[in-house]
Symmetry: C2
Subunit: 489 residues, 2 copies
């Protein structure tokens, strides 16, 4: 088809048609043959998307904080909510559940203390007796007492809520003039909610509620990046990492019992990249042990935190080579390329993740600027976990039509869509990100076939065994067929 | 090099080094071997760029209107100004010369009348007698009289100036909330200056001044997209298209006589894409005639105006096939892909430009979203004319690090850098756009080799004959060597 005769005569419409078809067939999902019912649903989606693209206020071009209400009202979004999306492979433990639940549920439990830090953030602790004051924090106040005293409890609750997320009703570009400010707020919000979610009873319920939210959003499987921090009880006693991992396993089993169409969760153990080499060495050794002891729930290992301000992966290459040197299995799922600092050491993280034999790449926002790493990722089938809303909110790209995944989807680069920290971004589940991917960088040419392939990708590129993938795919296919038959007109 | 042994052992630093080198060699300019002096200059540029990238207010991430002063003060920019950049292949006739010159020079000539339209824009005419009033415009006022009457002439001149450009000191995102507004203002500014620049004496001097500005910015060659409109004299008589073309030729020759290191200008005859088929047919026929009669100065033909609101190229395919059907030479230089409406008919313009055998693609902003068109463009050596500031100001991309040319440069896709409508954007010459390309989407990895290749590309992908290209390259090389020896430390 590339052998064109052009230049010698006027262009041939059949040749043009063939080239357009060729391009369509090259895209993610371009090889999928749709059934009659799927074709009808696809036609409906095409019509809806065309209307959506005519709007002056096109949601993917806007900041998600401003676009959220518009997306919520979009008929495409409503369909995407109902669509079985497969798995969410890049979600962080303490940003999976809505902040509203945290405030309305967790902070209303007895024995919940709060204090105010010097930088106007909050901290929480559950304790059977008055806890010892934190440095740089006001004395602990029992929330129950505080709520009894204040005139407007809703106002107090809203103020607490705004401390647990980076979402804001105000103009995001004014509130967060640069990446530095938004990362600082992000880390403060994380510290604020840590005291809530590491209290054992809340920890369990928070995770169960998170599963509920993803399940309600028609996500059937999760790979959760989890810090596995010390979990504490009311008397101040704490549990070890294995307990935390087992708790994830137990709560997941309980959830599956109550929701047999949920397939499960696997854990990617994570540590902050700010640690030093000796702490990382101990953590990698612990990860290898957990991987050996809990092969069912442990998927592997990753480093988290802002790449731009952390050490590059290569700095840790000796520690990260420990598993392979000892002949021990520890799959990696490295965050890499969540940066716009093109050409710096950190910008090399994608190549280094590949050299360290990563199973997937978290984000890979900068991959398009690395043709060699891109070639390796494609050749080895190392999928990117693309998180559109996260990349926009964390200020890597403003108009999501310019997200690099637009080009990657059109080349059918291995990738999945995920939501990273939905509760931090005022999002939830996976549908908002699917909307941005499908309507934003998918453009008018992405089809129901693209959506189907994205869902299938989320199983194909998961850490599940081939046999588990088969089971999960069969479960997904039944739900998919139901979705199509219920929505095709 | 792609045959990696990874996964079996810890990553090999030599292999990593080799892959990083491979990637560097794949980029635009990656094959260029630098001389010792060039290497020293490259090291200096690298150091300067590293410092620039550490800044909180990184200019390529900001709107050009806000970044202009910062860029002006950048030592990299100062170097780029001095650098012989070769040719500017995508510049429009009436946006090549600074608006300040228009106001301070053109509007101060005798017989200059101005009127105010209903939408608060201005119109101009030179006339030996009181001209007939325009519909929807105030009566014509002689500017000389108006200036004698007003208290603050500077204020009046500034107000006139602001009507002739879309540049603004105010917050651009507030002034231009969407592409519709900015395109409307763009078209109004064009109509405002049309009466000035189509007056024969101003027409000549405007073009001469434009050449001066590009030459001062160390640009040695231009391909000018020119509407070749009717040019008028003080008595209202007008000249035909051939006269206008010959005037370009004469003024260019005069300029070269006075500046022997300037190589020349060639004209790409353009018409607005809003015309209907019969007007376009007449225009294409005229273009074929001009191409035959003035082969030295005529480079070819193009359609201009906003793609999103115009007919797609394919709509005009029969008319645009006339030259090839008649066996007549008329090279095309189509604007295509200056859009973010991914997947619409207009978004197919790049493929259609290629099918119509275009010599280059103006912008090609959307090319990355068209793998088949991208493959054809690369295979046939059809270069993109990348205009970074234009794309940012016209709201296709906010942070220039996310410009699609970032990826294209890293793959050494055929491309040149140009400035489109510098006077409209408050820019001038070519250096501001080179700055955005080199510091913005070039990233830390683009080198002096990239800059050299960009300059060479501007000759290699020009409409000059191979022999002319040789002469131009030799002329450029002498100036380049001088630039390197003067600036290498
Ligand atoms: Zn993440
Ligand atoms: Zn243009």
């Amino acid at each position: 088809l590339y052998c064109l005769t052009y230049g010698l005569s006027s262009p041939d419409p059949r040749q043009r048609e063939a080239l357009i078809k060729l391009e369509a067939s090259m895209q993610l999902g371009g090889q999928i043959v749709l059934t009659d019912a799927e074709q009808r649903l696809d036609a409906l989606l095409f019509k809806m998307k065309k209307e959506e693209m005519m709007r002056a206020d096109f949601p993917p071009a806007m900041h998600f904080f401003k676009a959220r209400a518009l997306i919520g009202a979009s008929p495409i979004f409503r369909l995407l909510q109902k669509m079985p999306k497969g798995g969410a492979l890049h979600v962080h433990d303490f940003a999976m559940t809505s902040v509203e639940w945290l405030v309305k549920n967790a902070t209303y439990r007895p024995h919940c203390y709060m204090c105010l830090t010097a930088s106007q953030s909050v901290r929480f602790i559950f304790s059977s007796q008055q806890p010892k004051a934190l440095p740089q924090c006001s004395p602990w106040t029992l929330l129950e007492n505080l709520r009894a005293k204040v005139v407007n409890v809703t106002e107090l609750d809203n103020s607490i809520m705004s401390n647990l997320t980076i979402f804001t009703d105000q103009d995001p570009e004014t509130v967060y003039p640069s990446q530095d400010e938004i990362w600082t707020t992000f880390e403060q919000a994380f510290l604020a909610l840590l005291g809530l979610v590491t209290y054992a009873p809340v920890f369990r319920d928070y995770y169960y509620q998170g599963l509920t939210e993803f399940h309600t959003d028609n996500v059937m499987y999760l790979e959760l990046r989890a810090l596995l921090p010390e979990i504490y009880e009311l008397d101040g006693s704490t549990h070890d990492t294995a307990w935390t991992l087992k708790t994830y396993q137990h709560v997941t089993r309980q959830f599956i019992t109550e929701h047999p169409d949920f397939f499960g969760t696997r854990i990617i153990f994570t540590v902050h990249r700010a640690v030093n080499t000796s702490v990382l060495t101990r953590t990698v050794e612990e990860a290898m042990k957990l991987q050996r002891d809990f092969p069912d729930i442990m998927a592997g290992f990753d480093l988290v935190g802002r790449e731009d301000s952390g050490k590059p992966l290569w700095y840790f290459k000796d520690v990260l080579s420990l598993p392979v040197e000892r002949g021990v299995t520890l799959p990696f799922f490295f965050h890499a390329g969540e940066t716009d600092l093109e050409g710096t050491e950190v910008d090399q993280n994608m190549l280094d993740a590949l050299l360290l034999n990563t199973s997937r790449i978290g984000h890979g926002f900068a991959l398009l600027r690395h043709p060699v790493a891109k070639g390796l990722s494609r050749k080895k089938g190392v999928a990117l976990e693309v998180c559109p809303i996260s990349n926009q909110v964390m200020m890597l790209v403003k108009d999501l039509r310019n997200h690099p995944a637009a080009a990657l989807m059109l080349e059918n680069h291995p990738l999945v869509i995920s939501s990273d920290d939905p509760a931090m971004f005022g999002s939830s589940g996976l549908s908002y990100d699917f909307y941005e991917a499908f309507v934003g960088f998918g453009g008018i040419r992405s089809t129901l076939g693209s959506l189907k392939e994205l869902a299938i990708n989320s199983i194909r590129y998961s850490s599940l065994t081939p046999k588990q993938q088969q089971t999960a795919l069969a479960l997904w296919q039944r739900r998919w067929d139901k979705f199509v038959s219920e929505n095709a007109v």
